[in-house]
């Protein structure tokens, strides 16, 4: 495989820019694609080349497989998919292979394997990775009881054809088994026309912990430690950290070992993530493998110093990984807050629109990956995540303190953002203690937390609002008297300088 000279990122916004940054540093050319709606998105002007993939403004979709592939072929560019869109799309990867386009990511076969829940489980079991204990379809109640005992109570009874919580029963001990089974099965029969049930171990206080892995075509496999991703809202991760504050070193070591074993067993190439569910008892079980670069990869980069995109490019070029496992050192603690264009004080309603002020946090130990700038109109049509803000410190406590400092400096106006939500989470005692699980937002943090002020004194905001009101009244009065500029203040000059309207007609 030849060296990559140019990379087309089949994606937009912050992840396109993130890949471009590594390319720019490596001296690799960059190609952006964009829709009419995204003409002014920052990834377009960050790249060396940019091509529109839509025919007119009414089409806002980036999923233009034929155009993207033809473009990459014509330009001699490799394709990086980012996350979402064509990431984890085996068909797309196969077409790249057919057309001789280098795809910067895993092989199609691994995407297919891990895309199938049963296939992934089988492969993992074979590689010695623990999966959530359970049974096949229950045919015989007594046999099932014996198996439940083996799995260990509490267990979950689940309908084979179930969904949406129906036909599910938590069983705390054997005495409840029979009645629970009958009720759940008949519920499933009524709801889905099939009463088949199976048993799965119930995980108490589940944590979502994932291990970042890298593999190359020379059979090398590495882990880059774990990330704790249990802070989720509506199944969306919102805060991630590395390392996990919850799992102990014994669990850690075992998790790394099985992760690397799994990568080697299936011959996985490029960057990937093994997601685990970890119970309060520190037992961990494989959930799924993400065959892509994850949104939250920067926290891993911050504690290891490894540029994961750079390694993905090397692997796609057929080169070996630049590191051996013992050269990967974990240093410090990193946190990521995902900043969404949504209004946390209004039930997280989407808040697209024009960004009028955009002040990025500065100072030490901060990393911002954004797709926004002052003057950018956040489009309606795409993911509402506009930035990831990360920090790193020697300790978790230091990282939390740093993140507070950083968020207090991050100023985005014109739209609402989730920054105040993050600031509240960073004050939450369960979060500070580091023993939150995936139910955190539902059980340990609520809208009251969100509305609670850190400083209850209302005089300061009142006096600011009253002064603004007075100034607005005076300005309105002045406008009604004369429309001519009276004098020329600095602010006026700035106002004029930033008044685009008259310039672009």
């Amino acid at each position: 495989m030849a060296d990559i000279k140019k990379v087309l990122v089949a994606n937009r916004g912050e992840i396109a820019i993130r890949v471009f940054r590594t390319c720019r540093k490596m001296g690799i050319g960059t190609v952006a694609i964009y829709t009419h709606a995204d003409r002014l998105a920052p990834h377009v002007r960050y790249a060396d080349e940019a091509y529109c993939v839509t025919d007119d403004a009414s089409d806002t979709s980036y999923l233009k497989e034929d155009k993207i592939l033809a473009l990459a072929k014509e330009l001699g560019a490799a394709i990086h998919p980012g996350y979402g869109f064509y990431a984890e799309n085996a068909g797309f990867v196969k077409k790249c292979e057919d057309m001789g386009i280098t795809f910067i990511g895993p092989k199609a076969e691994h995407i297919i394997l891990m895309g199938s829940k049963t296939g992934a489980r089988e492969a993992m079991v074979k590689a010695g990775v623990p999966i959530v204990p359970g049974t096949d379809i229950i045919k015989d109640i007594e046999k099932a009881k014996a198996e439940a005992k083996k799995v260990g109570y509490p267990i979950m009874l689940k309908a084979v054809h179930g969904g949406g919580g129906k036909g599910m029963r938590l069983v705390k001990d054997e005495s409840e088994f029979e009645s629970s089974y009958r009720m759940a099965s008949s519920e499933a029969q009524n709801a889905f026309g099939n009463g088949d049930m199976y048993i799965e171990k119930f995980i108490i206080e589940p944590h979502h912990v994932e291990v970042q892995v890298l593999g190359d075509s020379h059979g090398n496999a590495l882990h880059l430690f774990e990330r704790e991703c249990s802070i989720q809202r509506r199944h969306q991760k919102v805060i991630e950290e590395a390392p996990s504050p919850f799992i102990n070193d014994d669990t850690r070591a075992k998790m790394y070992e099985v992760a690397v074993k799994a990568v080697k067993a299936i011959g996985y190439e490029s960057a990937g993530t093994l997601e685990f569910i970890v119970g309060a008892d520190q037992n961990f079980y494989f959930l799924e493998m993400n065959t892509r670069l994850q949104v939250e990869h920067p926290v891993t980069e911050l504690i290891t110093g490894v540029d994961i995109v750079r390694q993905m490019i090397f692997v796609a070029e057929g080169k070996p990984l630049s590191y051996k496992q013992d050269e990967i050192k974990k240093d410090g603690h990193a946190i990521e807050c995902r900043v969404y264009a949504e209004d946390p004080s209004n039930n997280f309603a989407p808040s697209p629109g024009l960004i009028t002020v955009y002040d990025s946090p500065e100072g030490p130990n901060v990393r911002v990956d954004s797709g926004a700038y002052a003057g950018f109109e956040v489009p309606l049509y795409y993911d509402p995540m506009i930035a990831k803000v990360c920090c790193v410190s020697r300790t978790r406590d230091g990282a939390i303190r740093s993140m507070k400092r950083i968020l207090s400096e991050y100023r985005i106006m014109g739209i609402k953002t989730s920054i105040p939500f993050h600031q509240r989470v960073l004050e939450n005692e369960t979060f500070l203690a580091g023993n939150y699980d995936t139910a955190f937002i539902d059980t340990k943090f609520d809208m009251e937390d969100m509305q609670r002020k850190l400083n209850e004194d209302v005089d300061m905001p009142i006096l600011a609002a009253a002064i603004k009101q007075l100034l607005s009244e005076k300005a309105a009065a002045a406008r009604s008297v004369t429309r001519r500029d009276v004098g020329e203040s600095t602010w006026k000059k700035f106002g004029r300088l930033t008044s685009f309207g008259s310039k672009l007609g």
Binding site: S345, T356, V357, Y382, S408, L454, M460, A464, Q469, T498
Partner: protein, 173 residues
């Protein structure tokens, strides 16, 4: 030129009213009295809608978003306050208006987006809470519900139309 004002302020839609007496001494210096508490305030604009406020040596940085008489104030620590500031006349008007509220309800868009589905027709009878249409903003669907039982008197939007915050969507009578 010294300017004086008296305002009534309420916070986050609450009942409590704060009486504010305000004197502009020079361009940036204000004397304030809030329910008897005295402050000397140095108020300066430090960027677009970003304000630097110094009160008795205490330095604050606030973002202020102005919508009519409501001022959304965001502090650096993430605290946000929605302050309504009314003078005597506006306050009286508001009190009269809120006494006579009922009947015809105009539904306005609470966020920008586009109309993905329209679920009712003009003239149709609806119940309070019944979805009228679905507004999509940033990949998320938002049901727009009837605020009361009644008849859909008017629909101002078409399928696939883009709407801005505050645009009128429908009237339920």
């Amino acid at each position: 030129m010294i300017t004086k004002r008296m305002y009534y302020a309420t916070v986050d839609g609450g009942e409590q009213e704060y009486l504010v007496n305000l004197t502009q001494e020079t361009g940036s210096c204000f004397k304030m009295n809030i329910d008897g508490r005295e402050y000397v305030v140095d108020f300066a604009m430090a960027g677009n809608n970003v304000y630097s406020i110094i009160v008795n040596g205490k330095s604050l940085s606030m973002e202020i978003d102005e919508n009519g008489d409501i001022f959304d104030v965001l502090m650096d620590n993430g605290d946000s306050f929605s302050i309504e500031v009314l003078d005597e006349m506006k306050r009286l008007m508001k009190m009269r208006h809120s006494a006579g509220l009922e009947g015809r309800q105009v539904i306005e868009a609470q966020m920008p987006g586009y109309i993905w589905k329209i679920l009712v027709e003009k003239g149709q009878e609806v119940k309070a809470g019944e979805p009228l249409m679905i507004l999509v903003a940033m990949k998320m669907e938002n049901e727009i519900k009837a605020p009361k039982d009644g008849i859909v008197e008017d629909l101002f939007i078409e399928l696939d139309q883009t709407v801005a915050t505050g645009d009128r969507l429908a009237v339920v009578e």
